[in-house]
């Protein structure tokens, strides 16, 4: 991994949608835009580590938004990323400091003209909770589900990657793993509360 390709905004969006180009696209995002958002985060009291973490979350959110077709190119990628990073950082600050004037100060610093990305980013806390739930799953289950639902491999291809005898064994295992994951999600108090509130 050396120098990333240079992309225009349109090319970048296309690269994100293409599985084989995704790593190049992510590297490009780091090379082009990590400095911009880091300056902002550090300017608003974050550490270097905070800046890196926020940018990672920003990249993940941005890719998800693009993949779901929610990035409408109404703003440039740079502008959009800065808005996403701001949103993530303000949320983090809210979490860290529930009270006090600083929160209001940060909120006041939002530019009313900047794109409202909160809807597109979705519920960050829910994402965090889902990530924790996923980590509770055993390694074998994580692998099989990632290969099927993230890498998009067929059962036949998964047999080549994992030590299972045949496709039927993989299929059964995947059923059980998905059921286990669903069970863990159901037993997560935060998610359960959210779903109950949505159902009301």
């Amino acid at each position: 991994m050396k120098v990333a390709e240079k992309y225009t905004d349109v090319e970048l969006i296309a690269a994100i949608g293409d599985k084989k180009d995704l790593n190049k696209a992510i590297l490009f995002l780091y090379q082009q835009y990590s400095g911009t958002t880091s300056s902002f985060i550090i300017g608003y009291g974050g550490s270097r580590q905070d800046a890196e973490d926020v940018f990672q979350e920003t990249v993940i959110s941005f890719i998800e938004i693009v993949k779901k077709g929610k990035f409408r190119m109404e703003a440039s990628v740079k502008t959009f990323l800065v808005s996403v990073a701001r949103n993530i950082w303000f949320n983090e600050l809210k979490k860290r400091e529930r009270s006090g004037n600083r929160e209001k100060l940060y909120e006041a610093a939002r530019d009313q003209k900047e794109p409202d990305v909160s809807q597109q980013i979705g519920d960050l806390e829910q994402k965090r909770q889902l990530r924790e739930v996923m980590n509770k799953l055993g390694e074998a289950c994580q692998k099989i589900l990632l290969l099927f639902y993230y890498e998009n491999l067929s059962m036949k291809e998964i047999v080549d990657h994992l030590p299972y005898e045949n496709e039927q064994v993989v299929r059964n295992k995947k059923y059980k793993c998905l059921q286990q994951l669903t069970g863990l999600i159901k037993s997560n108090p935060f998610i359960a509360r959210q779903i109950n509130e949505t159902a009301k």
């Binding site: 790593n23 090379q31 300056s39 300017g43 550490s47 990530r131 980590n135 993230y150 059980k176 998610i191």
Partner: protein, 254 residues
């Protein structure tokens, strides 16, 4: 696993593979229990996909950080030392001006403003292309004359090369040369419709004008940056005293 759960997972998988079965979905929505289970299954797939993407981005980030760490200085130390330097410069200006606090008008100078707001551009803490070339390495080592020399012999020059050399000129107090380089970056971006190192060039071009005591030239750039919250140097410029800059403008008119 119940038959219903199996059917739901089969449906989920077939939808995931782009095979639609609208009729089955109608059945799901008519059954609250099935609908709830369907929702949880979707959340489970979301969790898997998020975990996969998280791992992929984290892997690229690790590679990126490894690349950067070879060239980068510790950012915290840099910031602190820059801060101390700014304070030292500000303290010197205060002492040399002989009680400057009493007479704002006499104490406000281009050199003072420049010293207060200038911060070296650190390659490692902002953006940088992968493996550093000789010029970038010289820049990281603060070997300004070598940067300028390598620029002279470089066959291919992109905006980054022009910008870093402009910064080296600025560090060497060759303000006119720095101005030429930064203007080149901005002009190249206008020509190609990109913004590669544009924010950086705009800010340091303004700083170069201030260093040359041409605040009139710097003001439009600074105002442009201050009006754009997404500008990389928005925070820095927002902290600048525009009153001081206008005092200098007024003094230059006399």
């Amino acid at each position: 696993m119940s038959d219903k759960q199996e059917q739901l997972i089969d449906l989920l998988d077939s939808r995931f593979r782009g095979e639609g079965t609208a009729k089955m979905e109608e059945v799901i929505h008519a059954d609250p229990e099935a609908e709830s289970e369907w929702h949880y299954l979707h959340l489970a797939v979301d969790a898997v996909q998020d975990a996969g993407l998280h791992a992929q981005v984290a892997a690229v980030r690790s590679a990126w950080v490894a690349q950067q760490s070879a060239a980068a200085r510790p950012a915290g130390g840099t910031v602190r030392s820059l801060y101390r330097n700014v304070l030292r410069v500000a303290a010197c200006i205060f002492i040399l001006s002989g009680g400057a606090a009493l007479y704002k008008y006499t104490s406000t100078t281009s050199a003072g403003v420049y010293g207060k707001y200038y911060a070296s551009y650190t390659l490692g803490t902002t953006r940088s292309a992968g493996v550093p070339d000789a010029l970038e390495q010289a820049y990281t080592n603060k070997d300004w004359t070598t940067v300028v020399s390598l620029f002279g012999t470089a066959k291919e020059k992109d905006n980054k090369t022009w910008f870093l050399t402009g910064m080296a000129d600025l560090e060497l107090k060759r303000y006119d040369d720095a101005i030429d380089k930064f203007q080149h970056v901005i002009a190249a971006d206008v020509r190609t419709g990109t913004d590669y190192f544009q924010d950086e060039a705009e800010f340091y071009l303004a700083m170069s004008w201030i260093a040359r005591n041409d605040v009139n030239e710097a003001m439009p750039l600074l105002e442009k940056i201050k009006a754009n919250k997404n500008h990389l140097y928005y925070e820095t410029v927002s902290k600048m005293s525009f009153r001081d800059l206008r005092i200098i403008q007024y003094k230059n008119l006399k």
